[in-house]
């Protein structure tokens, strides 16, 4: 039944009107060591709720990967596990081959709330973590100004964060994260609390910055269109238990316009698919991956595991 569903989706996506040449195709496994390797990660909260089950994702350096799915699909849990703020109860997450243990300066988490230090000015907010990393005052100041200017906040260097608008605060947070030059940027629904107009400005800004720096980004969102605008790859997740439904590659030229016809059509398809997956309930235990994915074969063992340990209600 499940494979059938996957096959149907694959057919739909390939045969879709927007799929001339395929704008959205199942992503293929790439060669080389991935930057971020998520292997058979599972997590449950208090031995009851299965937040993640058998999640496998590879992210390569310079990729922009969006995790999209309904609330409760474990996308934020997965992101926090990547950041090291949470230790998954099963599986392994490694970055550059090194297992993630605790937060580290190589990957920065950007929050939905601006999370600025309210007693510091914009410039001091950007400078503070730079100084903590041992940069000299002059160097930290120079970098702070550079990145404040990158997010178009020139002239607001000495403003306090509560005197800024929501979008401006988010830009300060972005500048603060980028100034630290992390190898990996982990973003937890950073624009969800912004109004539509500001959000689309942020999309343009983030795309421009990403095209400039080509950082590895893992971006969590519940907004399918946002994921399609920003991501090279869109990992579609489903809830109860949190699992990967599809791993899709977005082949639309950048910079992308959220009102682009093809993009709107693709987002409608993905949303339909998500709704259908939710309607049909949980699939049989085991890896939920694209057909033809090499990982499926590896996960056969997991498939045969009894369902007793999956936290079913009494």
């Amino acid at each position: 039944m499940w494979l059938d569903l996957v096959a149907r989706l694959a057919r739909r996506l390939r045969g879709a009107p927007g799929a001339r040449g395929g704008f959205l195709v199942p992503s293929r496994r790439r060669r080389g060591t991935p930057k971020i390797d998520v292997r058979r990660v599972g997590h449950r909260f208090g031995n009851e709720v299965v937040a993640l089950r058998d999640v496998n994702i590879e992210v390569h350096a310079g990729e922009f990967v969006c995790l999209v799915g309904p609330s409760g699909c474990g996308k934020t849990t997965l992101l926090y596990a990547l950041a090291g703020h949470l230790d998954p109860s099963g599986g392994r997450i490694s970055i550059d081959g090194v297992r993630v243990k605790g937060p580290g300066p190589d990957r920065l988490l950007v929050f939905q709330e601006p999370a600025l230090f309210p007693w510091l000015s914009v410039r001091q907010n950007v400078m503070f973590p730079l100084r903590a990393q041992g940069l000299s005052r002059a160097e930290a100041d120079r970098r702070a100004r550079e990145f404040i200017s990158l997010v178009h906040l020139d002239g607001f260097e000495d403003t306090l964060s509560h005197q800024l608008s929501g979008g401006m605060r988010m830009r300060v947070q972005l500048a603060r994260a980028l100034a630290l030059d992390p190898a990996v940027l982990l973003m937890d629904e950073p624009f969800a609390a912004l109004d539509a107009q500001t959000r689309s400005h942020m999309h343009v800004l983030l795309q421009r910055i990403w095209l400039r720096d080509r950082k590895t980004v893992v971006f969590v969102t519940h907004d399918v269109r946002e994921a399609l605008v920003l991501g090279d790859r869109v990992v579609v997740m489903a809830a109860r238990p949190g699992r990967v439904l599809h791993d899709l590659e977005v082949r639309l030229p950048r910079p992308r316009d959220p009102d682009d016809e093809a993009l709107v059509e693709l987002s409608r398809q993905v949303r339909d698919e998500l709704r259908r997956a939710e309607g049909e309930g949980a699939p049989p235990p085991g890896g939920a991956e694209e057909e033809g994915d090499a990982r499926l074969a590896e996960d056969r063992g997991a498939r045969d595991r009894p369902a007793a340990d999956l936290g079913a209600p009494l």
Partner: protein, 209 residues
């Protein structure tokens, strides 16, 4: 009394003592509060003791202080410290526990740790609450000092009050009482109020006027 400088002299003596005792209890109370908030083990061990002792009026420490330290300045400092330390520690603990968890998480992800974390994130984030505790601690210290000086002959405003009673000079008694109130109001309403308002404004907790 005012003319012959006795009042001024006594007030200076009291304030000097207060400053010593108060600084000491702030220096112990704030770190104690931070540790209690951040270390569950310490909290479990100390919280019942701290809350229990808070119910004890500070002047009740005087007999013990005299037994331990004799009729010395240290005894009266001890009373002042015991009077304000716990209030400061409890308020600091509350303030640190009440810090927005997002700020703590962001500090973690930005790689801010140890001394820089405590001095640069924890204390500033808790400062509005800590300040309230310091204000409360100050008024406790002031009361403890006056009570101590009344019972304990060592100069200062409290003793001047007692001296007024002994020579049946109601005017002196009332004059000293007014002085005690005036100093209390001055520091509480002027110094702390201004400080608190400035911090709250900078932290974005109060509307800038």
């Amino acid at each position: 009394m005012l003319a012959d400088g006795r009042l001024l002299h006594a007030a200076a003596r009291s304030l000097g003592r207060l400053a010593q005792g108060y600084l000491l209890s702030a220096a112990i109370g704030v770190p104690l509060g931070v540790v209690m908030a951040r270390r569950p083990g310490v909290n479990a061990a100390l919280r019942p003791v701290v809350l229990g002792l808070q119910a004890l009026p500070s002047i009740c420490w005087l007999p013990l202080a005299i037994l331990w330290f004799g009729l010395s300045e240290i005894a009266i400092l001890f009373v002042v410290v015991m009077g304000s330390l716990l209030a400061i520690a409890i308020a600091t603990e509350d303030a640190v526990c009440g810090i927005d968890p997002v700020l703590l998480r962001v500090a973690g992800t930005l790689g801010i740790r140890r001394v820089r974390f405590v001095a640069g994130v924890l204390l500033p984030a808790a400062l509005p609450g800590v300040l309230t505790g310091l204000k409360l601690g100050w008024s406790f210290a002031w009361r403890a000092l006056m009570a101590g000086e009344l019972l304990f002959v060592a100069g200062g405003l409290g003793q001047l009050l007692q001296a007024g009673r002994e020579v049946l000079d109601a005017a002196q008694v009332m004059g000293v009482m007014v002085a005690i109130v005036a100093i209390g109001v001055l520091i509480d309403r002027v110094l702390f109020r201004v400080l608190e308002l400035r911090v709250r404004r900078r932290w974005g907790l109060a509307e800038a006027v």
